[in-house]
Amino acid sequence: MNTVASNFEIRSKASPNGEMAGELLEVSMGPQHPSTHGVFRMDVVLDGERVLKLKPVFGYLHRNHEKIGEGTTYLSSMPYTDRLDYFCSLTNNWAYALAVEKLAGLQVPERAEYIRVITAELTRLQNHTCLAGFLLQDMGASGTPLMYAFREREKILDLFEALTGARMMCNYMRFGGCRCDLPPGWLEQAKKVVAEFPRFLEEFEALLTENEILMSRTQGVGVVPRELAVNASLTGPMLRASGVNYDLRKVDKYGIYDRFPFRVPLGDHGDVYDRYMVRVLEMRESLKILEPAMRDIPAGPIVDAKAKLRGFRPKAGEAYGRIEAPKGELGFYLISDGSPNPYRYRVRPPSLINLTVLEDMCLGHYVADVVIILGSVDIVLGEVDR
C-alpha cells in the first residue's frame, strides 16, 4: 500500500540474501527548506537515514546577471555585483573593479587601496561570523550563536552604512578607486570595532569550539580529501580546510596585501569542524591586517584622475580580475570590443564551484549531516544562480 504523497518516489531495493531491507526514499529537500540557505534544492535518495545519492538543483534565483552585464555600461554593472553574494558586496565590488582596471589600465591611488583592504577585511569578518552562526543554527543550536554573530555583524554593517550609505548593497568601489572618502570619525569608530572584536571571538570560541556536541556532530563529517579539493577546483576556506595552502592574497598579492603580515590558517582533515575552525582563525588573521592598515592609511586622492564615470570605453581586449573573497576565489572575466558595454561579462562564483563536491561530501552520512555539510560550504544563492 502506497500512502506516501505522489511527489515522493518509492522504489523497492533488491534484497540479495533474503534479509529485511527497507525501501529507498527519494526526498526533495528545498527550495523552501529553512536549512538550504536560500532557494536551493537537493534531490536526496535515502536508505533509511543514510544518503545514497544526492543531486543539487540550481537556478531558482537565476536573474540573468551576466547577460544584463553585457547589455549595460561598465558602471551600471557595479550595483548588480552587490547582489551576487549579498553578504559581501564590497569584495564583489572590488573583484569587478579590479577586472575593469586591468582592462582599462587604471592606477588605484594609495589611499583607495588601503580603504579597499579595510572594507574587504571587515567584510570577511562579518561573513565568517555569520557563517559560524548559521552553521550552528543548522546544527540545532537555535538562536544563541547566530544572535551573538548578528550582534557583531551589526557593528560592522553600521560602519558600512556610515561609509557607503547602505548596509548591504554598498556599491562603493569605482574603476580606479572608491566613490567617496571616509567620513570624519569613521576610522576611529572602525578602530574601536576592531579592537573589541577579539573579545567577541573569545566569547564565541568559549561557547562553541570545545563544545562536545559541536565536536561530535562535525568531526569526521563531510570530509573533502586534499586531492578531491584540488581536482574540483575548490577555493577559499573550503580548500584550506583540506590542507592546501592557497590564498590569493598571498598568491596574487593583489592590492597591497604584500604589506601586511598575516598567516594562512590550514585545516588537517577537511571535515566540517576544520572548515569552521579555519574560518574562526581567518577572522583573527583579518584583525592582524586591519590594525596596521588602519594605522598606516595615508592621506591623498581616492580615485584615479584618469578614470571617468560617463563615456567610459576601455580599449578592445580582455581581462580577468580575481580576489580572495570570503567564500573563495571570486573572478570577473571581461572582453571589451571598445564599446561602452562589455562584449562578454563572466563571473566565476566561489559558492557554485565549492558546491560541486556536495555529493562527495554527503554520501554515507545521515540526512541531518547533509544540512550541516551544506552549511559548512558557505553558499549564498544570489551568487550560485546569478
Binding site: T72, T73, L75, S76, S77, M78, P79, Y80, D82, T144, Y148, R151, E154, D158, E161, A162, L163, T164, G165, A166, M169, N171, R179, C180, P183, E203, A206, L207, L208, T209, E210, N211, E212, I213, L214, M215, V303, K308, L309, R310
Partner: protein, 216 residues
C-alpha cells in the same frame, strides 16, 4: 572531562544574560518604531529632484539632459523634454523636463544617477517608511512628488549639500564676473568703433559649462 565545553558555553551565555542587566551596550535591540536610531549622513534610499528658491517649477535644477535616464542600471527613470525653456540659476536658458518619473518599485537605490548628474539636480533621499498598498499612485513618483527644496537637501545631507552649494555659488560668481567682463569689453568696443560688434561676440555659449561634479 566530558561536558566541560558545554559548561564553559553555558557560562558564556549566562554572562551575556546577566551582563545585560549591568551594561547598557549589551542591550542591542532597538524597539522600532517607538525607538529610532539616528540616521547616518550617508544614508540613501530613493532619488529626489532638488529645486532652488520657493517655486518648485521655476527652481528645478534638472535640465532634462537624460544622462541619468541612460545610466540608470534598472532603467527606472523616464524623462520627456519640454519645448519651453527656462532660465537656470545663472540665468542661462535651459531645457526642462515635461515628465520626470521614477518608479521606486524598480529603483535599486544605487546612487548612480546622483553621481552622473552634471547639474547637481538629483540627490538621494533618506525617507524609508514608504510602504503602501497603491503601487501606481504611491510608488511611481511624478515630477511634483520628486521635487524637494534645497533646504531639505541641506537638512538631510549637511556636509554634502554645503560642498554642492559652495560649488554652485562659485560657478555663479564666475559666470557673473564673465558676463560683467563681456559687457565691459563690449562697451569698450562700442566706444572704439561706432559700427556694431560682430555677431559672434553677442552669442552666448550654447554648451552649458561643465560642472566639476565628477572630479571628486
Amino acid at each position: 572531562m566530558l561536558g566541560e565545553g558545554i559548561i564553559k558555553g553555558m557560562a558564556a551565555t549566562a554572562k551575556n544574560f546577566l551582563g545585560s542587566y549591568v551594561q547598557e551596550e549589551r542591550l542591542t535591540t532597538v524597539q522600532y518604531p517607538e525607538e529610532r536610531l539616528p540616521q547616518k549622513e550617508a544614508a540613501r534610499n530613493f532619488p529626489f529632484l532638488v529645486y532652488d528658491g520657493n517655486d518648485w517649477q521655476k527652481g528645478l535644477r534638472c535640465v532634462a539632459c537624460q544622462i541619468c535616464e541612460k545610466e540608470c542600471p534598472p532603467k527606472c527613470i523616464y524623462i520627456v523634454k519640454d519645448a519651453i525653456k527656462k532660465p537656470d540659476y545663472i540665468g542661462k536658458l535651459q531645457l526642462q523636463p515635461k515628465v520626470f518619473d521614477i518608479d521606486t518599485s524598480v529603483c535599486m537605490s544605487c546612487q548612480i544617477c546622483v553621481e552622473v548628474c552634471p547639474f547637481d539636480a538629483i540627490k538621494m533621499d533618506v525617507e524609508f517608511e514608504l510602504s503602501t498598498d497603491d503601487r501606481f499612485a504611491k510608488l511611481l513618483l511624478k515630477k511634483e512628488d520628486l521635487a524637494k527644496p534645497n533646504k531639505y537637501y541641506q537638512r538631510i545631507h549637511p556636509s554634502e549639500a554645503a560642498e554642492v552649494d559652495g560649488r554652485l555659488a562659485a560657478e555663479k560668481a564666475k559666470a557673473e564676473a564673465k558676463a560683467k567682463a563681456d559687457a565691459e569689453a563690449k562697451a569698450k568696443a562700442a566706444v572704439a568703433s561706432p559700427k556694431p560688434p560682430p555677431a559672434s561676440a553677442l552669442k552666448t555659449p550654447a554648451i552649458p559649462s561643465p560642472a566639476p561634479a565628477l572630479a571628486k
